[in-house]
Symmetry: C2
Subunit: 107 residues, 2 copies
Amino acid sequence: MIKVSVMYPNGPESRFDDAYYCERHMPLVKERMGDALLYYTVDRALAAGKSDPNAPYIAMGHLFCESQETFQAGFGPHTKEIMDDIQHFTNQKPVMQFSEVLVGHEG
Amino acid sequence: MIKVSVMYPNGPESRFDDAYYCERHMPLVKERMGDALLYYTVDRALAAGKSDPNAPYIAMGHLFCESQETFQAGFGPHTKEIMDDIQHFTNQKPVMQFSEVLVGHEG
């Protein structure tokens, strides 16, 4: 399984609308990606909006897929629509990370 | 639930021993923290050891706890032992992130 982490930089000027992200953006991503997206998680910095070395990102979303190929197949066709939605919940440009999950948690 | 992300910077000079990390370091953390650590996950960059904007971190470990207080109570007394072990699997200094889990995955 792979994990695509989308990480929004934190700082005094960073704004991030949790409600929009959790209730509209991520459900949009899930709807567009369908079965290509196994599940997703969302993290919110405990020190959001501050200069804190223990909160480099104000928020992070993580997309879990079987492989890079399934991610690309599911996300690729909707990239513009999904990226265009970012302005509605943050003033930050996300940093991406593509990882293999070595140790996961399936409940 | 909170999540403490320990993120090791990636780059051509970065080295990271997955086997040591997964088989020795993280089990040590779990053993020392006991029930204060609900579970943990491990990610490995798909572009480990390269300069790749989609892999800012060569690896990441994530510790899931009920609260910051339970994390501190479980981790605090063992900080030196755990930090001293880092030299055995990487030449990188980790970046930390303390987050609240807004959307989790419990299987």
